[in-house]
Symmetry: C2
């Protein structure tokens, strides 16, 4: 008998029909003999509805009160699910985050789970009662309800799986696994049966939005076997593993991408220590996320400094740089808000050279000009004009032999 | 500086406009220097919406899960109110029942408050932070969310006032106080400035639905000064007092009534001990509330036994009596499902005779036939044909000089 933590997202419980379908699924698993802990998100749209209520009352609502408000979303879905399971003759009990022992730090809106006190979960499991746990929420040391930020239900599931030493944490979503790239861009994309944690981290941070990155990090830290499956169709999904790299591991596992990128280049920056901090501090203070950063010395004590941001932050970033440009005596600012980012990811490239050259060769053959390059141990990212996105993804997908075999 | 517990019901917080109006009111009280604890119901209609969700999933949902579900209603209203107060520059904090220290017994759906642990409320009050407490809910010894049953927010307010030794518990509602009778039936009805607890108990149980009877009982037990006011219009409302009866107390304070009554009369019941229990046990086991009971010996070891129930329970009660009739050899069953009940209430009648005779004289003069009479120390109730309700109320209101003086 395996102990499984199963998490269902908002679309999986987004209607009465979906709730019944998920209840059927849980009932099947329970009757097959597995011990289950179920984690739910709010019904799709509910969190946004609640945020809308708050913003009708206050433009800038207090995060503490906001957490108390939005946490009702999961409270509703778990209650309804427990009822649906009881109707099927199963023993189930809905538990709020704090009842399931989820203790977070003090922060509201983006609390971090500090520990899980499993007494009550253990007690229910020993009585063959299925705990239906509200994801996304916990309580802090003050005794206040906190939420974990968007996607926090995944983190809840992983944290419970780690604390309970579950055999597997299964994330049910609206895709049936992790693909070599987005099938909407490359129809020949292949679902992977397994993927390493490192690759998954890179893929989810690069826009293959299957799992929240924090939950993947969390799973990696506690060695929780994590599986992504579809709640709409049967299948084994994709298992995220910690396996050591085998010799026949593919060089590249997948092609990730993100649209709506913009680059800002400062030309003629004094080539001094600390200049990067002076440039980037006002940007990050404004809450703007900086992604790729490139710094090139151009000689004569000058350098070019380029970084990318999301396109929606482009104008604000431009404005924020003006005082810095004046202060540091920078020659000029170039901007490009029509970029996208394409990345090849794979643990295989740790031990192999040649991935970068094959990547640039492929893009060059297609006439795609690379604007910016950033590399890590297991990924290479390029910024290119957005109109080339599909072409770049498909040609790289093909060059690295990722397509499904017939 | 007075410590006031102010409770606002569902219609008082039923829309964004109403929430803002109540927030204005609270802000005025706070700035006038009073220390406040605010208790809220769910926004009007929300509890029924949540019950509707439950019943879409399960015909007979588990009370534990149902409590968890419906308790979100108050959670939403308190969060929004705290935000509305913070927007006004006030310090406020929304608290769930359990955060406000409300501990109940184990029962779901109709929990009873066993104690209030006031540490957190005391702490907030000492920091001049206004606690905004979710009414109607608490936690039981298992750590599960319980609800107190309909109208439970009044009970929460009274319990907090008792535990905090508040100077007054103010129940804001959609009426501006307690009237000598329903102004929709008798336009000359007069708002009372004060009323005794005993009278209030009789009036609320008789259908002057201003306050939940349980909260009045609770207030009486802990000597909590209770005031009913309107959240829609200014005024002092009605203060419910524990004062000793003064010599000039009016004989009769008010005329209460309820529609939709039905009577069942068993004719020719063996006049034995325990026969009443045999008749009423199946009725109360079915959850049917029995109101007036009259038992008259008719001689020769036989008696007539009459009781009243709500009209909606009439058919079921009739059916439940059939086995009893057969078993006890009762002659026959008479029923009347077209009755109403009219009651005169007043602590003054404790020390005076003559109220009953004036009551019957008044009804008799109007040609109203009394079907059934029930009396307590401070009230006399009669069942009459429902078509006479308005006439009976108005003529009694006038006979006991209750009308507003110009």
């Amino acid at each position: 008998m395996a102990l499984l933590v199963q998490k269902f997202g908002g679309t999986s419980v987004g209607s009465f029909e979906r709730i019944e379908a998920v209840a059927d699924h849980i009932a099947r698993c329970a009757r097959a003999g597995d011990a289950l802990v179920v984690v739910l998100s709010a019904m799709a749209g509910e969190t946004n509805r609640l945020l809308g209520l708050a913003h009708q009352v206050a433009a800038d609502p207090d995060p503490r009160e906001l957490d108390l408000l939005v946490s009702t979303g999961e409270q509703i879905s778990i209650s309804l699910m427990a009822m649906a399971l009881q109707k099927r003759g199963l023993k189930a009990q809905a538990l709020l985050g704090d009842q399931a022992g989820v203790r977070t730090d003090q922060r509201h809106g983006r609390g971090r789970i500090e520990r899980v006190e499993t007494e009550r979960l253990d007690e229910l499991l020993s009585q063959q009662i299925i705990p239906i746990v509200a994801g996304f929420q916990g309580r802090n040391p003050t005794g206040d309800v906190t939420t974990l930020g968007r996607g926090g239900s995944d983190t809840t599931a992983v944290a419970l799986a780690a604390a309970l030493k579950a055999d597997e944490c299964q994330i049910y979503t609206d895709v049936d696994g992790v693909y070599t790239t987005d099938p909407r861009v490359e129809p020949r994309a292949r679902k992977m049966d397994t993927i390493t944690f490192e690759e998954m981290l890179e893929l989810s941070s690069l826009g293959a939005k299957v799992l929240q990155i924090r939950s993947v990090e969390y799973a990696g830290r506690y060695n929780v076997p994590l599986r992504v499956l579809s709640s709409f169709q049967p299948g084994e999904g994709t298992l995220i593993t910690y396996e050591e790299l085998s010799m026949d591991a593919p060089l590249v596992s997948g092609i990730a991408f993100s649209r709506d990128e913009a680059s800002l280049t400062l030309v003629g920056v004094p080539d001094e220590a600390n200049v990067a901090a002076q440039i980037l501090t006002p940007i990050s203070d404004a809450g703007i996320e900086v992604d790729m950063i490139v710094h090139t010395t151009t000689g004569e004590g000058r350098a070019d400094f380029t970084f990318t941001v999301q396109r929606s932050d482009f104008s604000q970033a431009e404005a924020l740089l003006q005082p810095v440009i004046a202060q540091l005596g920078i020659d000029r600012l170039k901007g490009d808000d029509g970029l996208c980012k394409v990345s090849v990811v794979g643990v295989g490239m740790k031990n192999h050279t040649g991935v970068a050259s094959r990547m640039f060769q492929t893009l060059g053959q297609e006439g795609i000009n690379v604007q910016l390059i950033a590399t890590s141990e297991i990924k290479i990212s390029v910024a290119v004009e957005e109109k080339y996105l599909e072409l770049a993804v498909r040609s790289l997908h093909s060059a690295f032999n990722l397509a499904a075999t017939e």
